[in-house]
């Protein structure tokens, strides 16, 4: 459905996006994550034809952005970060009719679809109110409606919850969950990891313009189900280290006067065996706690390069 081929963007000597090669399948809901300045918005804008890539191309539904720009742009819609995306002096109905008209679609053709979206997005009562008088959350919903009215195959949402309060975020999430039922491919960027993990079936993380993780949500669920304990002891000898690593899946971090073991276990009972092994090798246990991994942990580990995220085998 959407394919990035060696997509790159460089401004003078600063590489913002570096050789992105991604294939996004039909009906994928992709969470596109990364720290500030990672290149997420630049990638989204290149995908929308707003920024010219330095190298590479994007394809949507078989159409190349470079060679078949018209056909490509017919198949995408976008709600961009930091932009209003709609005209505040127009009402929701006027905005939707305007953007439909701009795509060459007449009012009569979109009437039913528009009423359906207004109903779905709980905008029916405010349909004739100037958008400037609506709440930020409602304005964002109108922007999503406008981006969908021409029935694009792929929808880009760049930080759709930016600046919204908790209630508005939940409303947008519910709206997007309804859209998922429409079997549309969506690419969503957000710093709200809970929001992303509740909606997406696939996570792509980029850092410094390069993709560092591309996994489906099942991987993340397996990762978060894995049992990891952090154990702090007073020190470890090299020969003991070898014994421990031979018996357990463990990562060791040494400090001046202590050592931390991150041990991955199959069940909670195994921690007793691990602790007994440490004690039998003369180590004193200082601290122990159970670590629960979630998307935030994966993100922090991948971005901070503290450790590589291990693929957890499928059951």
């Amino acid at each position: 459905m959407l394919k990035y081929n060696m997509l790159s963007k460089q401004y003078k000597d600063h590489v913002v996006v570096n050789n992105l090669n991604i294939e996004i399948n039909d009906k994928d809901i992709v969470g596109f994550l990364g720290p500030n300045g990672a290149g997420k918005t630049t990638t989204i804008k290149m995908s929308c034809g707003l920024i010219t890539p330095t190298k590479g191309d994007v394809e949507c539904c078989g159409y190349s952005l470079k060679k078949d720009r018209k056909q490509y742009l017919k198949n995408i819609g976008a709600v961009l970060e930091g932009n209003r995306n709609i005209y505040w002096k127009l009402s929701p109905v006027e905005n939707i009719e305007y953007f439909a008209g701009m795509k060459g679609i007449g009012k009569k053709k979109i009437r039913n679809q528009m009423d359906e979206y207004l109903e779905m997005f709980s905008l029916t009562e405010k349909r004739n109110m100037e958008c400037g008088k609506l709440s930020r959350g409602m304005q964002q919903k109108v922007a999503i409606c406008c981006s969908l009215i021409h029935n694009p195959k792929v929808l880009f949402l760049d930080e759709p919850t930016l600046g919204l309060d908790v209630q508005s975020v939940l409303l947008i999430r519910d709206v997007l969950k309804n859209l998922i039922k429409e079997d549309r491919t969506m690419i969503i960027t957000s710093h709200d990891l809970n929001f992303i993990s509740s909606l997406c079936n696939r996570i792509i993380i980029i850092n410094n313009g390069t993709m560092v993780l591309d996994e489906d949500i099942d991987f993340l669920n397996r990762y978060s189900e894995s049992i990891v304990y952090a154990v702090e002891a007073d020190g470890v000898r090299d020969d003991t280290e070898k014994i421990i690593k031979a018996k357990f899946d463990v990562e060791i971090e040494k400090f001046e006067d202590s050592v931390e073991f991150m041990v991955t276990l199959n069940n909670d009972n195994e921690i007793l065996d691990f602790l007994n092994l440490l004690k039998s090798n003369g180590m004193n246990i200082k601290d122990i706690y159970k670590k629960k991994s979630d998307l935030e942990d994966i993100f922090t580990e991948v971005i901070g390069n503290k450790k590589t995220v291990k693929s957890v085998p499928e059951n």
């Binding site: 929308c48 034809g49 707003l50 932009n83 995306n85 127009l90 006027e94 008209g101 060459g104 679609i105």
Partner: protein
């Protein structure tokens, strides 16, 4: 059919926004009306040594120059104001995500704007003619010159639009051009050195305003040479304007600067 739908959408949006900013629009029109009335009173009260016919000719040529300045000035600043406002409002990028090129969309917007301005100047002219008792004889010559000039003005507008895409806030540039144009519309250019005259006459509005003033004020019969010069001049500006706009759009897209203002 798609182009027609774009026309309808843009026209409807223009009318809705005009209605919602009606007071602002009304104030603008009143300003233009009273500025001309002031000019008219000044001419009348300071030229009492001239004959009635000479005064009438002077007033008529000023009237024509003023109305042309009003129309052309609005049109020249249209691209700058329109693009810059959309950049500030955060809708420009949304307009660009369209299988119709930005060029097509802005040509349609410009045509709608032309039609709107023609209606406005007809109303303004009617009001001024009633207020000042000026009589204008609008013949085919006048209409032809006006229509040919529109091409050059459109080209100039696209040049300003291109500058806006790159440099964002170029409102002062439009203002300077507008003032320059007002000067050339009101002042008798024959008093300027010939080299300066040649430069000024190469601009897309000067020749047309001069011809219109002569037709209305001095019953001048335009010749084929006048029309040919005006046509070539206007087409040259139109082509140059379109090229500059397209190149500017490409440059701004390369720089990724559409969201900056």
């Amino acid at each position: 059919m798609e182009i027609l739908n774009i026309f309808k959408s843009e026209t409807k949006k223009m009318l809705i926004i005009q209605r919602r900013y009606f007071l602002n629009f009304l104030a603008d029109m009143l300003v233009y009306y009273f500025v001309f009335i002031g000019l008219y009173i000044f001419i009348k009260s300071n030229m009492n040594i001239m004959s009635a016919e000479e005064i009438n000719r002077a007033v008529t040529t000023q009237f024509v120059g003023y109305i042309c300045w009003f129309f052309f000035s609005f049109t020249i600043s249209f691209m700058n104001n329109g693009i810059y406002r959309e950049l500030l409002e955060g809708t420009f990028e949304q307009v660009c995500i369209n299988h119709h090129s930005i060029m097509e969309i802005y040509v349609i917007r410009l045509i709608i704007y032309f039609i709107r301005n023609i209606v406005l100047i007809l109303l303004l002219s009617l009001l001024l003619m009633i207020s000042t008792n000026i009589k204008l004889d609008i013949g085919m010559d006048t209409i032809m010159i006006f229509m040919i000039s529109l091409l050059g003005i459109a080209g100039f507008s696209f040049m300003i639009g291109g500058a806006t895409l790159i440099y964002k806030n170029v409102g002062q540039l439009s203002f300077i051009i507008s003032i320059l144009f007002l000067g050339t519309s009101i002042v008798d250019l024959s008093v300027l050195p010939s080299k300066i005259q040649k430069i000024i006459y190469s601009l897309p509005f000067t020749k047309s305003v001069s011809l219109l003033k002569n037709i209305e004020g001095a019953n001048y019969n335009i010749g084929g040479q006048d029309i040919l010069f005006l046509f070539i001049n206007s087409i040259a500006y139109l082509i140059l304007g379109i090229v500059i706009f397209k190149l500017s759009f490409k440059k701004a897209a390369k720089e990724g600067s559409f969201s900056r203002f």
